[in-house]
Assembly symmetry: C2
Homo-oligomer: 461 residues x 2
């Protein structure tokens, strides 16, 4: 692995080239963000100023007295090749080029010139036509959309790599809203130099990252990418959302980033072979990320469904079977135990319906009984809190404690019908049990946890 790639993730010092005192300009937004949040040295570079907002401003990167790990270049396209070269001469390891105006608008020549400058001068280059990096644990934030317009997720263990800034931005806003924590966000744009494989190789050994989630339109070097995903192995799932899966989508991708999106069947086969987990929709990209970042793999397809809503249990069963999982009936021993531990006349089965009389204690008994039965590999728990005797806080307590006592995955389906329920579901999620609004979404998440357990096949075969 190229050690210079680390400069994009954990730089000790950052220079903003094209820094501005104008908060409406890219170089103004980025400088302010870094100055206010980054836990390292920040320098401004712009020959027109001596200081910006109290930060010392230098004529060029070479004039900065300290060592610079990362340069964020926020000037127009034509000026970037020369500035990257200056970075190289100053010993900068990595440069992020934010500007568009390269291959995506037909200026492949300028992009090649930029890449050549980077190669010649020994700088690794992220972009151009990208947003760069957000890393909550160090406050590194080169995103030109300020956080009052695009909320940033808290620190966590999901890394997002995105070819598209707009998709990445949406994913980030949704993660912030749903409370999914992030280790790094990297928008890499046209990938004139650093590509997905470089980034994945770094994240594969990064201790902060548990899930690598990638949005792709197309790949420049498919083999390199697949080898890199295969090297990550099954310990750290790689979640891939591939856009341009239809002919019309591929045309749109071609006119957007100039990507050759490639046949979806080829992607499907290759991604499966290297053990990647595929997200088919924007929602799945978030939903699966949440499950994979918090729950252990599911070492088999058999799911136990515990609910106090009979009809909703039927929907859950359909969803699980459609997601490729199984809902095996309750066997003799488990049946005897449940009959013993639950009130008489409760219908015992899978799903088990705890009825309108359900309590937190009954949920605990049912959850532990299914957890301890070897037939079941995972649980879907569907508490409907509109039942008076089912206290949300107590129910969340028993689910959190059961989840700690067993190594089987558990996901919860619930709707935040009231403020009290909403706050308790938040506790559940912060405790590492993912909550989904519908059984269908939870079923696809459980299927991904099962897929993850099967993804340990070595590659190349």
């Amino acid at each position: 692995m190229d050690e210079r790639i680390g400069a994009f993730f954990r730089p000790r010092s950052v220079a903003v080239v094209g820094a501005s005192s104008n908060p409406e300009k890219l170089g103004g937004v980025i400088l302010r963000q870094l100055a206010s949040g980054f836990k390292g040295e920040v320098y401004a570079v712009n020959p027109r100023y001596d200081r910006i907002d109290g930060i010392p401003c230098y004529r060029s990167v070479g004039d900065i007295p300290g060592r610079v790990d990362l340069a964020v270049i926020a000037v127009r396209a034509e000026l970037t090749p020369r500035l990257v070269e200056e970075c190289g001469e100053a010993g900068v390891m990595g440069a992020i080029v934010i500007a568009g105006g390269f291959s995506e608008v037909g200026r492949r020549d300028l992009e090649e010139e930029l890449a050549a400058s980077a190669r010649r001068s020994g700088v690794r280059l992220l972009g151009p036509n990208c947003m760069g990096v957000y890393a909550p644990s160090t406050g590194l934030d080169t995103l030109f959309t300020p956080s009052n317009l695009l909320p940033r997720p808290a620190s966590g263990n999901v890394a997002v790599l995105t070819q598209s800034g707009s998709f990445g931005g949406i994913a980030m806003a949704m993660m912030a809203r749903e409370g999914i924590g992030m280790s790094y966000f990297v928008s890499y744009g046209n990938r004139a130099d650093v590509d997905e494989a470089d980034l994945i190789d770094y994240l594969a050994v990064d201790p902060e990252t548990r899930v690598i989630a990638v949005y792709l339109e197309g790949l420049a070097d498919g083999r390199r990418f697949m080898e890199s995903v295969a090297r990550v192995g099954s310990e750290k799932p790689v979640l891939v959302f591939k856009a341009g899966t239809t002919e019309a989508g591929r045309r749109a991708a071609a006119s957007h980033t100039g990507s050759l999106a490639g046949s979806d069947l080829v992607y499907e086969g290759a991604l499966r072979q290297v053990g990647a987990i595929r997200a088919r929709t924007t929602e799945e990209f978030l939903d699966l990320g949440k499950a994979l970042s918090t729950q252990p793999p599911s070492h088999g397809p058999n799911v136990g469904v515990i609910t106090n809503g009979g009809g909703y249990g039927v929907v859950a069963v359909d969803s699980l079977v459609r997601a490729g999982l199984r809902v095996p009936p309750v066997g003799g021993e488990l049946r005897a135990r449940l009959s013993r531990e639950l009130p008489p006349f409760y219908p015992i089965g899978n799903p088990i319906d705890l009825t309108g009389n359900s309590t937190a204690d009954q949920y605990e008994r049912a959850v532990r009984a299914f957890m301890e039965d070897e037939l079941y590999h995972a649980l879907m728990v569907i508490p409907l809190f509109s039942v008076p005797a089912l206290d949300p806080r107590e129910t969340v307590d028993v689910l959190l404690s059961a989840s700690e006592d067993y190594r089987k995955p558990m996901v919860v389906v619930s709707v935040d019908v009231t403020a009290e329920v909403s706050s308790q579901l938040g506790r559940l999620e912060r405790g590492g049990i993912p909550v989904y609004g519908t059984p269908e979404r939870a079923a696809v998440a459980l299927a991904a946890l099962h897929r993850r357990a099967r993804a340990s096949r070595p590659w190349p075969p």
Copy 2:
């Protein structure tokens, strides 16, 4: 149509049989709710009281001096056949039997006795094993789950008919949260007498209802149901969510309501033939309901996509094609108009990418240009409000006004990234433009609007 069915939807007077002063009991919750909200006469029936909370309480329905349209019978199963008979003698048109303990637990005999009492005494019967009816416009509310535990949606034009109380409750809570208005909610349970067909026949001519949304596990009389759906015709869409589509789901349904769920292929063919629109997931049940209740049909498959996020546009195109729609390229005339009306160098196409410089004015120009081009039958608009120049209020203004000026469906994809955006998206929805969190959900909604336009084939063929 049997006029007595109207008693379930628009009664002038309601008696609660088994009324209680105990707010923990069914007959207590239901009486309180009706007393506080129902715009009509409310009577209590219970031989043990003279008054409950100030409401006159009678020994039997026959003792009530005024006319009673609807009786809500909130006593245990064994007592219900005799009470239904008393209702008939007193001239009550409809009775709702809340209690379970009938065919769903193997007491088919008791259910038949109940149904026979109703037939003999001329009362139409809803239930047993049901929640009954909620009608926001009149305050009729027989649901035994109080609204502090299960929020009720506001008045609107979507009627929900549900065999499962738990699914219905979830759907209702989700509608309340998403601001989808409801004309009626009817939980009909074991349908010993009144069935889906009776209810659909009433709603077909009900002026308050624009969409009839049905959750089914199985049908007792499939032919009657299908004929009833076919009679509704294309003016008022019938949205059907069928649970028990898998073998395991059918087994779960059989143990839950005793329903024979039947082969999904048979349902699929029959529902298609009668012009019903099928929701495949819980989310679709809500999402399609929202689109069908607010937007006109889409008279063709061609969708124009307008966004300021290129990558997200690619995802939108994939979603539309996968939903069975088309995203045709921009023709010469439209291209010339867009080039003339938008800043130079904007990439003109479908999707059209209004870039990071987008403004509300540019959205207006693009939306009106696509609306006025006959090639396109519907629009998906995807404003990403993280762009500084794109004012959420102004953007919502131009979308609302464009939507009023044309008869083409429009749906919006957006995430409420900030409180300001969230409040403006609320304005958009109250103005009748449905907003979805992802392009995939919006695409399925547009496909339903297209399906609706094709659903006017007469039946039987």
